[in-house]
């Protein structure tokens, strides 16, 4: 059964319920405790691509910590205590073991920063069924479609949402002819798929597509490589690059045969969060994060922050710590999460994806925020990004 088919009495009930608990708090009520687990695994440190960007080892976890701080400030006034316990599985460790032994018996809410495969492996465990898993690590469209799980909520925008955001902007600019360059990793091909879907959706044309098979070393032959590589038979407006790990994408700009902008995974990128973002109160959270972490907020941090805040918001509003009532609230019309992007965030009932704006950012300037003005939707313009309800392939079998 899909959540969307749940009778409307539930959201109505939630609204009623929240109005009833919309009390004023004159004295500290007895403390209610809400425990949240944060689960991740150490990564192999990739070879440095550039000395400019140091490898960030703790992406995600500091966002969760900031979220718990904010939850607890509210909790001080509502008599709720939020606890965050971090589980960082070593490289040779087993996430399933950690999950079944240390997490599922004690926690109802788990922020998971893991790749797609282990994420669904956890989600399918019988012990995980009654839990809420907040995915802050993946952007896979499959996890939001054929491979969707009822107990997994996806915080970061999918590749389709990102590609749609770029396509809307390019449509506005009338840069309709694209040249697509695809890296050799499986993720690059998934990104390219999303780009192709977006092109079709918004009436753009991919005039050429090539796989990048050259060297990944900038000091060698890249200058001539890129110039030769970017010669095409048909003219194009934009070079769209699919290189999620950043192995060659940065080397394309200024080296193309004809002068054309670069977009996609490098150049102009589509992301839920960026250091250049300052509007809608974003300056405040950028400051608070920078002070706490000593570095800029990465998208995994933003995702973990939103996940922990979503639990906090639901617990505060329902005055409950039960996952059942919290989940009902998270999917009700009353739920409106502030993501510092100018539009309230909420969950799509058909695939558990957090609906949100997508930022289009150049390295040192925020270029646009999608949905771009003029892309209309009967319900919310945010649903012009990614898989809308009629297009979704998610059926809640699991």
């Amino acid at each position: 059964m899909r959540l969307a088919t749940v009778p409307y009495s539930i959201p109505a009930l939630i609204l009623l319920l929240t109005q009833c608990v919309n009390l004023s708090f004159t004295q500290a009520a007895p403390k209610q405790t809400i425990n949240i687990a944060y689960l991740t695994q150490e990564q192999v440190i990739p070879a440095p691509l550039s000395n400019l960007d140091p490898f960030v080892k703790d992406k995600g976890v500091i966002g969760a910590e900031l979220g718990i701080d904010d939850d607890n400030t509210t909790g001080e006034f509502t008599g709720q205590q939020f606890n965050l316990k971090k589980f960082i599985v070593p490289l040779d460790g087993n996430v399933v073991d950690t999950f079944t032994k240390e997490i599922s018996p004690h926690f109802q809410y788990v922020v998971v920063n893991l790749p797609a495969q282990p994420l669904n492996q956890l989600a399918d465990l019988p012990a995980a069924k009654p839990l809420l898993l907040f995915d802050v690590g993946t952007r896979d469209d499959a996890l939001r479609n054929e491979e969707c799980r009822r107990n997994v909520l996806h915080i970061l925008p999918s590749r389709a949402m990102r590609a749609d955001a770029l396509a809307q902007y390019m449509m506005k600019k009338r840069w309709t002819q694209w040249f697509l360059v695809v890296g050799s990793n499986p993720e690059d091909r998934l990104y390219a798929e999303a780009i192709k879907r977006a092109a079709k959706r918004f009436g753009m044309k991919i005039v050429a597509e090539k796989a990048w098979e050259h060297t990944y070393d900038a000091r060698r032959t890249v200058q001539s490589d890129v110039a030769v590589f970017t010669q095409t038979e048909d003219p194009y407006d934009v070079l769209v690059v699919a290189d999620e790990q950043g192995q060659f994408g940065e080397y394309l700009d200024y080296r193309t045969w004809i002068p054309r902008p670069v977009m996609g995974t490098q150049g102009l990128i589509a992301t839920p969060w960026h250091k250049t973002h300052e509007q809608w109160g974003a300056v405040q959270i950028q400051h608070r994060f920078l002070e706490k972490a000593g570095r800029w907020m990465e998208e995994e941090d933003y995702g973990a922050y939103l996940a922990v805040r979503a639990v906090g918001e639901a617990a505060t509003r329902t005055q409950s710590h039960e996952s059942r009532s919290l989940k009902d609230y998270l999917f009700s019309d009353a739920f409106a999460l502030n993501g510092y992007t100018g539009t309230p965030l909420s969950f799509r009932s058909w695939d558990n994806q957090l609906r949100q704006p997508v930022l289009l950012a150049a390295p040192r300037s925020l270029v646009a925020v999608a949905p771009i003005d003029g892309f209309l939707h009967p319900k919310t313009e945010l649903d012009t990004l990614g898989y809308d309800q009629p297009e979704s392939h998610c059926h809640w079998d699991k």
């Binding site: 109005q19 919309n22 009390l23 004023s24 708090f25 004159t26 701080d69 904010d70 400030t73 509210t74 006034f77 509502t78 109160g281 405040q284 400051h287 608070r288 918001e313 505060t316 509003r317 009353a334 409106a336 999460l337 502030n338 100018g342 539009t343 309230p344 209309l376 939707h377 319900k379 919310t380 313009e381 945010l382």
Partner: protein, 320 residues
């Protein structure tokens, strides 16, 4: 002869504008203050004022302007006629919004980054206290009876009721997400609070501290998530309230007795803050992204003029 005529004209013009009220608008990106003659619908001049000016108030005796220059971490005291800087108040970090008590001797500042409200003795230019509030305090106001100081925290989603005698929080009301502005009715009986994320206006009873009414807005051709209420003002007789709807580019007219939305007026882009004329016959709005202010005639409830003022108009204050 010609010169004399010009002089005459100038003097006439001066007396005319001296009788009319003056509207002051802070320009966040121009680091300046716009001085507007609203009757003539003209920008009189633009005065450099300091880095990133936002919140603005006129002192009760109309002699001074208080302007928060956020990037200078201070609130400046400005002569309301000559625009000379007379002094600075220790506002704490990054002041944005602040409030004056009715007597004008206490000034309360929201320090967004530090989750604090700073209480300042205006005459002594001294900090009396810093009060710990929720995350990202924004809207701040003092009840006309000087009983309550209200601080609204955007991320904690709360209205904090602070006793002005003790400067301590006495009660907290959980409100709709990302509350922005708060205004009392003239009789101090009700507190009106806007929520940017839920797109609502809530009316709280000052006795019980509970929400007695939540109002939503509908604007034809604008999706719900673009309706983001910010500034709210209520007239002295509690007949009508006016709510700036942010990126919906509209001001809503609400019947303050029946709580019905009576009218939606189209103003400039990203309408933000509101101020009445002293006789409450006109309303002025700052329109953040269209770089102008709108003048609304409240008798006819129509937008009569818009005046270009400069980049990112933020706060608005009126001197008789």
């Amino acid at each position: 002869m010609k010169q004399k005529a010009l002089k005459c004209f100038l003097m006439l013009a001066l007396t005319a504008s001296a009788q009319a009220e003056t509207v002051f608008v802070t320009l966040e990106k121009d680091n300046a203050l716009a001085v507007v003659d609203p009757i003539a619908g003209k920008l009189i001049k633009t005065v450099p004022i300091g880095q990133r000016p936002r919140g603005i108030f006129v002192s009760p005796d109309n002699k001074f302007l208080y302007i928060a220059t956020s990037d200078e971490n201070t609130i400046k005291i400005i002569d309301a006629t000559t625009f000379k800087e007379l002094g600075k108040l220790p506002s704490g970090k990054d002041p944005e919004t602040f409030a004056l008590n009715p007597a004008g001797d206490r000034l309360y500042v929201s320090n967004e980054d530090d989750s604090l409200v700073t209480v300042i003795d205006v005459a002594k230019k001294k900090v009396l206290k810093q009060i710990k509030v929720g995350v990202e305090p924004e809207g701040i106001t003092v009840s006309p009876d000087n009983k309550w100081l209200i601080s609204v925290s955007e991320t904690t989603n709360m209205v904090h009721w602070i006793n002005t005698k003790t400067n301590t929080i006495e009660a907290n009301t959980l409100v709709d997400p990302r509350p922005r502005a708060a205004s009392f009715t003239a009789d101090s009986q009700q507190l009106w609070v806007t929520s940017e994320m839920a797109g609502t206006l809530m009316i709280l009873d000052s006795q019980t501290k509970q929400i007695i009414k939540t109002i939503g807005f509908e604007v034809q051709g604008v999706t719900r998530d673009k309706i983001q209420p910010v500034g709210v003002v209520i007239d002295k007789e509690r007949n009508r309230a006016y709510v700036a709807l942010g990126p919906a580019n509209r001001v809503a007219v609400v019947n303050a007795k029946t709580f019905e939305v009576e009218k939606i007026l189209l103003v400039g882009q990203r309408v933000w803050n509101l101020a009445f004329s002293p006789d409450q016959k006109r309303l002025y709005t700052t329109n953040g992204t269209s770089n102008d202010i709108s003048l609304i005639d409240l008798d006819t409830q129509t937008v009569t003029k818009s005046v270009g003022v400069g980049t990112y108009p933020w706060g608005v204050a009126v001197k008789p």
